[in-house]
Each structure stands twice: as C-alpha cells, then as structure tokens.
Point group: C2
C-alpha cells in the first residue's frame, strides 16, 4: 500500500447558509492554501469507475487450474467444443437464484452483461425481439424512447445515444424510480419502448427497489406497447456489504402472475464476483423473448465460452458457495465505503455544501453538490490529480440539469489512497461552494 | 473408438455414362440391397460440421492451470480486471503473423471470429464503419449487396440474409473466386458493399487463393464504393495437413501498397487451434476502420476476456510454438482426410457419378454429385443414420441452382465411424445417380 500524507489537513468547518461574509472569506483563504498544498503533492488518484480492487479479483485466483484437466460437465458435454447457445445447465442452475429466475429461463452469455444488453436493445430495434422491430414501428429519428431513471449508469445511456434512442429522465426516489412519473409518461408520451433499471444498489444511488416498485415495474408490460422492454440490469444482485442489507423481491414472480415475462429481460454477471472482464454474463426472460433472442444471437455466435462457465461452476458451486465468496468481497469493500462515509461526514457534515447516499451494497456513492458546481468540483479535483467520473455522466446525454451529481467509486483504491482522494475531494467541494457563494454575495 | 462393420460392402462398379440399361438395373438392385443392409445397422454418424475431434481439443488441455496463478501480462496488465478493448500486446504479437499483419493493426475479440464478422457487417450497415452507414446510402430493401463466392460458408450467408443484404454468387476457381466476374459485377451492378472470402483452404472447396487473386482482391477497394469491405475470413490460416501445402500471400502487404487497408478486414481465431468456442478471435484492418470499429464495440463491451488471451500466449508462445501445435492437429486430421479420399476413390472413382476436392488443409471436402441429386443423396443418407450438411447450405439462400454440392466434414468422427459414413454416403450417391439415369431412360 502506498502511504499518502496529505499534510496538515485543515478543519474548515463552516455552514454555508449560516456563515457570515467574513467567515466565508476566511474559509476561502484557508481552502486555497489547502488546495495549493494538495496540488504540490502531485497526487494520482482515481475514483472514476466501479472496478474491483486487486485483492478482490485475487479471491478467484483458483479459477486457473480448477478443472484439474476435466473439461466435461455434469451432463457429459465436452466444454472444449462448439455449441450450447443457452449455456451449461449447471451454470444456469448456479446463476438462476442470483436473478430469482428459473434455470430454464436463463441464457448464459460471454464475459459481459453489457454486451447482452446491447444485443437485446439492438435486436429489438432493428430485427424485432418482443414483437416487431421498433425501427419498423417508428421510423422518424428520435421517435423511439426509453425511460431512464436518473442519476443512472452512463453505459446504459451511451447505448441509447449510439442507437438513436431518445432518453426520458425520471427521478429516483428512496424506493426506486418515481413510478407515478413512469406510469404518467407511458400514458402520455408516444414511442416509449424501453426502460433501464438497476434494481439493487442502483448505479449510482445505491437504492434497492421496494416490493411495490418491483411490482409496478412488472406491470408496465400491461400498460405499455406490446414490444416494450424493461432492461433489468441486476449488476449488484449479490453485492451487499453485510447480511442485513435490503433484499430485492424477484421480479420474475410478479411477471409470471401478470403474464409480462417477455417484457422484462434481467441481466447479471460475475464481473464483480470473480474476474472483471473474464467472468460469465447471463440473462433471464420469458420464453418468446428468449427464443427470439437466441435465434438472433445464433447468427453471430455458435455459443459462449463453456469452459469458463464450467470453471465458475467448479469455483462457486451453488448459492451457498456464492454467498460465502461474496462475503469475502464485502470484507474488502465495506471498509472502503466506511472510509468514504467517514471522510465525507468529517469534511462536509453539517456544511450545507452537499449530500450523499449511504448504500448497503453496490459500488458507488452518489454525491450531490450545491446546484451548478459538479463540473467545477470535478475540474478542481482533476487539476490536483484526483480523477472523478465526469460531471453529468450519470445523466442522459451527459447533461445534468442541476450540474450537481458526482459518482464516487471507492473500491479500486487502497484505503490510504481513498482517504487522501476523499480529503482532496472535500477540499474541492468546499472551495467551489464558498467561491460560488461569495461570487453571488 | 466404436468399431462399425457395415457388412458385405459390395463393389458396385459401373460408369454411369457407359453402362447398359441392364447393367444399371442390376447395379440398382445390388445398391438397394446394400442400402437396406445399411439401414438395418441403425447408424448414427455425422459429417455435418467442421468440428475438431476430442483428441484435437485435448491437445490444449494444458490451458487449464497454465497461468500458475500469475495473471499479470508482460506489460504489467492485470488480466483479471476491466479494460483493454484492443487486446493484450502479447496476444496481438502472437496472432499477427497468422494473418500476415502488424500487431498494431490487430484487435483481439472474444471467443468467436463469427461474432467479430457480424459486428463488422452490422456496424457498417447501421452505424457506418469505413464511410457512412450502408443503410443511409441505400435504403430500399435488398439494395445493399455482397459478392459471395460459391460454394461458400453457410454462416456468412446467414449473416447477410438476417441483415437483409442481397447476395450475388460468383463461382470459385482453382485459384480463388472468379476475379473477372467479381470485377465485372463491381463495374455493372449498383449497391455492392462487401465480399466474403475464405482465402486459405476455402470452405468448402479447400482452395488457396493465388497470389494474383489476393492482389486483385486487395485492389477492389480502388474500383468499388468507398465504403466497400472485403470480409477476409482466414479461418484456416495455419490449418494445413503438411508443410508442403500452398501458402497464402499476405493481403496486408498489397493493401498497404494500394492504400486499401481500411477496406479489408481480416479475421482469424483459435477455435480450431485450441478449444472450439473457448478460444480467442482476432481481426486486422487499417487504422480508420479499426478506430471506428473499436469505438462501436466500446458501446457494447468494456473489453474481451484478457485472461483467456494470456492463457493462449502462455500455451502457444510464438509462431514456432503455434506451428508445432498445428502439426499435432495435422497428425490427427490428415488420416481422416486420407480415409475420406480413399473411400470416395474406391467407391466412386471412374463412375462418372460425382467429383470432389482434394484439399491440402482446412476442414472440408466439397463433393459435387450429378446435377439435381444433392438433396436426394442427403435425404437417403439421413434415412440410414448418416447426417450430412443440408444440400444447398453452401449457397446463398440455401439455393444451389445445380442441386449438386454437398460439404463433407471428416474431422469429428473416429476413423471407423468415418469409414462407415463415407461408405454409406457412396452407396447413396450411386443409388441416387442410377435411379435418376433409369428414370430418364
């Protein structure tokens, strides 16, 4: 571990609403000094992306050699040869509980759930997945629309932008997307064909959708267009910091009852379970959607890597094995989130200069500065060697209307690096906030 | 190995052009008897697909455990974490010579070159790869066209059909596609935007494109539309039966001289080197095309499986290691091709009932029956338990105008299975040929 000493970390505690002009000016001077000292440290810290740390990926080092030369699965399939578009039965049985779905409703993909999501959206758009191709229904540019809870995941938004799909933001609440707003949009706005969801430990808010929210989302297939799809990206399904974290109700159960199975596609992966980029991705949906998708994927693939599926089956074994493995991740991640929370509270608690989430799992803390400051804070941090996710990234088209949301990702850094990065971040937030206040005074 | 005794294999030797009506009738009776005996054996044999056999895939069993727990590549990249859309440098250096390309012009993909081909065509069609999107240039259904040498690979044709691309067949010659016909088509037919090629040991003919053919194909970018792409599927680049097999000249060298690098995309994979479906795929092209493709793939992937790339680097090491590995494959494959040639010659030599290729590498023998008989032969064989590639599969839309081409794939079967399958095939060819002759008499 690199030990980083940020020097005399000064305790500049003012409440931006209550401080006098003089107090603000004094605080600003102190912060400018602190900022200059941080700049002199030539920091090189990175809180941009939700990457597991080296100790986390090392938890799965046993994958190399785990087959002991036995490449045949429990059904006698030689995983070294072609075929098997749906994935090994053993792998489907292992991963189905992660999504709360039946193994027969699962398909295993390659190394990336993002690739599966792209394939689903692209197929629904140009070929037809659950009903006819969206592009054949709506051929005016921008006429096809997706509901996007905000703040959200930049790679979801990038898929829409790349494929010419118009994004309609809907606010997140403590229980998931604002479902009144979602239902209102579906009733009033033409052309809506999809909705992104990260239902457990949402990216970046860390919200776990409530039972009522899950139920209402499962019902959308009844009130939306027949070809409407919910993209249910359950990326952090088993990624809680402790066993007390809020559970996510299975959307499959509700979809079965409501006959909307084909309009919800669930995604998961082991990118943050085993190796990021060398894991196994999977999806679950109703039979019609799965059959159509399988047919579509059959044009571009003879089947995903079955050897890697078998490695994962041998390493993780079952739900219990997976749970034990995830507790090891939690033991590495939880202290980092605790450090982040501690430093934010110590530096900004009671300051009125921002608020942030305290998730029970996932990979992010969502920070909201005072309106209009996110870009400046990210620039201030970049200047002194602390990389943050670009301001706006959590919004469609990179446009955060309040210019206030910043996603913090504490998992990859070491604890000393993280501590230093957050202290620098706090300094930038304070400096930007007080400068703004003084400029307006 | 399963030992299959097809019983009293009868030597029905007639030349279909020279035999008298009586001789044909007698031969037909004998063949009906032989066919009935074969039917009674309840054979279950499969010559459909170019699958490596179990002994072949076992040549790479050392991949499991080969890292010895060291997941860091020569450049210090932790292959267990995200990133690396272009692929590891070590992997690009290993595979570049396979395509006769520079490592910096390579991109490593996932487990399937077919997926890379699909991504290239789909991107060029809907997004724009080498120039603007084909769909924006030509929006009438079927207006976008590909040149397809025939007989060819069914999965190439399926991609075109799935994406609504019209296929224009061009005959294969001993030196590759009929280039006069190709150049004439480009000069006279509007809307041509691509051409499929399997340049070494073509599927199914086993032809190695000549130097002149390679040169003329490299020049197509100068005479075709700016956004025209050659899809150069070098699937059997290192898959010769012995060291005397014809070499393929590097198309990269010609493209560099002619400034057409961006209009040729070369593909390769280790599907038939290590594990089929758990190997590494790669492509090479010019900088503009690669940059655009990389940008496009970046929307659907954070990067391919780098751990598997590293496994391959450690197993195959370099061009020499790869060559030694491929000679082990040849030692397993060559006897199967020899068996196939021997049985075809013994059963059909001098009969006038068909002709076939004698490739120096690859995975297929291309058989041409008398016109109008391929479907019947495939059905006759299926009835007695010998699965063949569907007749017509080697032609666009599954429509072989002569109904004569059948692709034979001898690699997966054991030698006794293969011998039995080819003897049964020979019986079906003779029976169908003589029945046709007698019906016309």
């Amino acid at each position: 571990m690199i030990c980083i000493n940020t020097g005399n970390h000064m305790d500049v505690m003012v409440n931006i609403e209550q401080a006098s002009q003089d107090e603000l000016l004094q605080a600003q001077r102190q912060l400018e000094q602190e900022y200059a000292k941080l700049a002199a440290l030539n920091l090189s810290l990175d809180l941009t992306r939700g990457k597991p740390g080296p100790e986390q990926v090392a938890l799965s080092d046993a994958l190399d050699g785990i087959l002991g030369g036995n490449y045949i699965d429990a059904d006698g399939v030689d995983t070294r040869n072609y075929g098997g578009l749906q994935g090994l039965r053993e792998a489907r049985e292992l991963f189905a509980p992660v999504l709360g779905a039946d193994p027969e409703n699962l398909m295993i993909g390659g190394n990336s759930s993002l690739s599966l999501m792209y394939a689903v959206v692209e197929c629904a758009l140009n070929i037809g997945l659950c009903g006819s191709a969206w592009s054949s229904q709506l051929d005016k540019p921008g006429a096809i629309k997706f509901i996007c809870p905000v703040p959200g995941y930049d790679r979801h938004f990038a898929i829409c932008e790349h494929l010419g799909i118009t994004m309609l933001p809907v606010a997140m609440t403590d229980s998931g997307p604002d479902m009144d707003a979602v239902e209102h949009l579906l009733a009033t706005e033409p052309g809506i064909r999809g909705m992104w969801c990260v239902p457990r430990f949402s990216n970046p808010d860390g919200v776990v959708y409530s039972e009522q929210t899950v139920q209402r989302i499962a019902r959308l297939g009844q009130i939306a267009h027949d070809s409407f799809l919910v993209l249910w990206d359950n990326a952090y399904a088993v990624h809680s910091f402790d066993d007390d974290a809020a559970e996510l109700p299975s959307i499959s159960a509700y979809c079965d009852a409501l006959k909307t199975q084909d309009q919800v596609v669930q995604f998961g992966s082991t990118s943050k379970v085993t190796f990021a980029g060398a894991g196994v991705a999977f999806l679950a949906s109703g039979e019609r959607t799965r059959t159509n998708l399988s047919k579509h994927l059959g044009y571009s693939s003879i089947g995903p890597d079955k050897v890697n599926q078998l490695r994962h089956v041998r390493l993780l074994r079952d739900a219990e094995g997976l749970g034990a493995h995830m507790r090891k991740h939690a033991a590495l991640i939880a202290p980092r989130f605790a450090c982040l929370q501690r430093e934010l509270a110590a530096g900004l608690g009671g300051s009125g200069m921002g608020h942030w989430t305290e998730p029970g799992g996932g990979y992010f803390v969502s920070f909201d500065s005072l309106p209009g400051l996110a870009k400046e804070i990210v620039e201030l941090a970049a200047t002194i060697g602390v990389k943050l996710t670009p301001a706006g990234a959590t919004w469609p088209y990179g446009k955060d209307p309040e210019n206030s949301n910043i996603r913090l990702a504490p998992t990859f850094a070491t604890l000393p690096e993280l501590e230093a990065a957050v202290q620098a971040f706090v300094c930038c937030v304070k400096l930007a906030s007080i400068r703004q206040r003084l400029a307006r005074a």
